[in-house]
Amino acid sequence: MSTTDNPPILEVSEFNVDYGYGDDAVRAVTDVSFSLGQSKVLGIAGESGSGKSTLVYALTRLLRAPGIITGGKATLRLLRQENDLPFDLLNATEAELRGIRWSQVSIVMQSALNALNPLQRIGKEFNEVLKLHDTSLSKADRKARAIELLALVDLGPDRLQRYPHELSGGQRQRVVIALALALRPELVIMDEPTTALDVVTQREIVSKLYELRQRLGFAMIFITHDLSLLVELADEIMVMYAGRIVERAPATHLYQAPRHPYTLGLMDSFPPLFGERVQMSGIPGSPPMLKSPPTGCAFHPRCAAAHDRCREESPPLVAIEDGQRSVACWLHDPTSTHEVPVALTRRHVAASEAN
């Protein structure tokens, strides 16, 4: 894509988020840095409590007290902005934020039922947002645009007259996606948009998103706990554990050749649909309580390859393999003398070689 030369649409560095103040503070997101290219899809995978939702809520400044951003930088570079200046997300005033929310950056939440007003027809939802953000549109224009948006997600114009409870879960989620795209944003954030849906409906939504992104070219952050879904959709995947990024890599690399023991464990937690039935173990133990995180690497109590250093020091996220990916694990430290488990040394097969 030609857009790769452009600066990234979103750049985040050393980002930290706490819940609560002083001694009671719980660190939910720790030292997260990443960048998202124009028209790219970044997948964030992690279990509940890994900080993946907190991260995007904080970035979009939607985080409510007692959540506080305690440090870091987040810069948004929009192509359509009149003055081509980078937008400092963390120091923006409410008025400035209002200028970019929905029109430039939109977000789709997990539960479509909660996102739609139950007392309001679908048509009114569209009408309201179009009216507020573009005063030049006439009533007829707004309706035409709403119908166009619904068509984008394969819903007929008759849906405008419906209430949310008259639609199925998948249809509701599609309405929310159409709403999110109403003002042609450059960045769309999806927070577990398919978790509450059936697998057949999930497939429909994901195919639709893939197609829409190809057509409209927006950048996307897609959050889910389902790693195999991300492999299908994302260009790059970031795996989070206990508020930190533990591994970041291009989607196929991550899937074919994980480097962090947690990523490997996550992938082994999904039984396969094909092949021999074999006993699988998942990951022993439970996710850590952020109130009392383990010392050193947060994953060490559940990690089979943990050694002394893991218990004492937290591993930094370092670039490996010519900067193609990053991993936060002492096993991949150049000075480490510990043997890396075979499963973590697999090579990925480039798409061109595979065929």
């Binding site: 999930q202 497939r203 195919s207 893939y210 195999s228 299908e232 196929t252 649909l273």
Partner: protein, 347 residues
């Protein structure tokens, strides 16, 4: 307590149906309508075996489990517990509950949040007339069976102090405390963190094997059904549309709905197939359609599918499908439906 043989039929359902009243047409003399949430489901649960029931939300799988647990009274059908016919009109007593236990999806909602774990474990024992001096020993025993040791650490805890996986184990332990023969698990892992799901699934399989339990595992995740089950049944709009032993159902699906389900699962192994879209997948489950309930969504529907209800076809080896495709003479088209890799061998 007499020992059950492995494979022996413990619970058998014949033609279970449950109808719920639907919203009526307007007007005083309008005809009353009803929706069959479950219609004509027959199944057997065998000692030491897991029957997985797969279906999307609204397919009737939870209503089925509740009927088997006798929490929901069936509108028609019969239930046999170890060969004895159960009078479904009668109130469910503790003796039935002592044999058939139901485990629900959400452990956070299933366990009293203001009571210690000990209380939740002892309640069913007291209700089932366990002498007071045996309560502690019994609680320890069931906690050990779900690998929550040392037991003292858990008994005095409150639910909020435990993780989802641990709570679901306690939920399972509570179900096991009265020594049931049948365990009905309704989506036991769908609310849990991804990394602990497999642990709970392995535990269920192990309990089934060691305690010779007859288990029904309800899920919408067809891959987990393949992982754990001895027999798998797929439900659509209240009916079992296909069932087979072992991995046959997923390896050689015959019913178009089963095929749709399988093709919808994210599968990074075959990325070239992605985003081809699914055929005939929009729409809601047709509870009140003529003929086959899947026919409005079915990409291979024949004319007969929209008029006559399909029969259950025996495909051999314990594989059954409720579909006109294999039932009609057009056997070839049914075979062509199968995924290319496995169908050749089947022939």
């Amino acid at each position: 307590m007499e020992q059950l043989q492995k494979g022996e039929i413990v619970l058998e359902a014949k033609g279970l149906s449950r109808a719920f009243a639907a919203r009526n047409e307007k007007g005083l003399f309008a005809k009353k309508r009803s929706v069959h949430a479950v219609e004509g489901v027959s199944l057997t649960l065998r000692a030491g075996e897991v029957l997985a029931v797969v279906g999307e939300s609204g397919s009737g799988k939870s209503v089925l489990a509740r009927m088997l647990a006798r929490i929901v009274v069936p509108t028609s059908g019969e239930l046999f517990l170890r060969g004895n016919s159960i009078d479904l009109k009668e109130r469910r007593g503790t003796s039935y509950a002592g044999e058939v236990q139901l485990i629900l999806q959400d452990p956070f909602a299933a366990i009293n949040p203001v009571r210690r774990v000990r209380h939740s474990l002892e309640r069913p024992l007291l209700l089932h007339q366990t002498p007071k001096n045996e309560l502690l020993a019994r609680s320890h025993e069931v906690l050990a069976s779900v690998s929550l040791t040392p037991q003292e650490d858990y008994l005095e805890r409150y639910p909020h102090e435990l993780s989802g996986g641990q709570l679901q184990r306690i939920n399972i332990a509570r179900g096991l405390s009265v020594n049931p023969k049948v365990l009905l698990a309704d989506e036991p892992i769908s609310m849990l963190d991804v990394s602990v799901r497999l642990g709970v699934l392995n535990l269920l399989r192990e309990l089934c094997d060691t305690k010779n339990l007859a288990m029904m595992y309800i899920t919408h995740d067809i891959a987990s059904a393949r992982y754990i089950a001895d027999e798998t049944a797929v439900m659509y709009a209240g009916q079992v549309v296909e069932r087979a032993r072992g991995t046959d159902l997923i390896d050689q699906p015959v019913h178009p709905y089963t095929q749709l389900l399988i093709s919808s699962v994210p599968n990074p192994e075959s990325l070239e197939q992605r985003h081809t879209g699914t055929q005939g997948s929009t729409g809601v489950a047709g509870f009140n359609v003529n003929g086959c309930r899947f026919s409005p969504r079915c990409p291979q529907a024949l004319p007969i599918c929209t008029t006559n209800e399909p029969p259950e076809v025996d495909l051999g080896g314990g594989h059954f499908a409720r579909c006109w495709l294999p039932a009609t003479a057009e056997q070839k088209s049914a075979v062509a439906l199968r995924p290319s890799t496995s169908s050749a061998k089947q022939q």
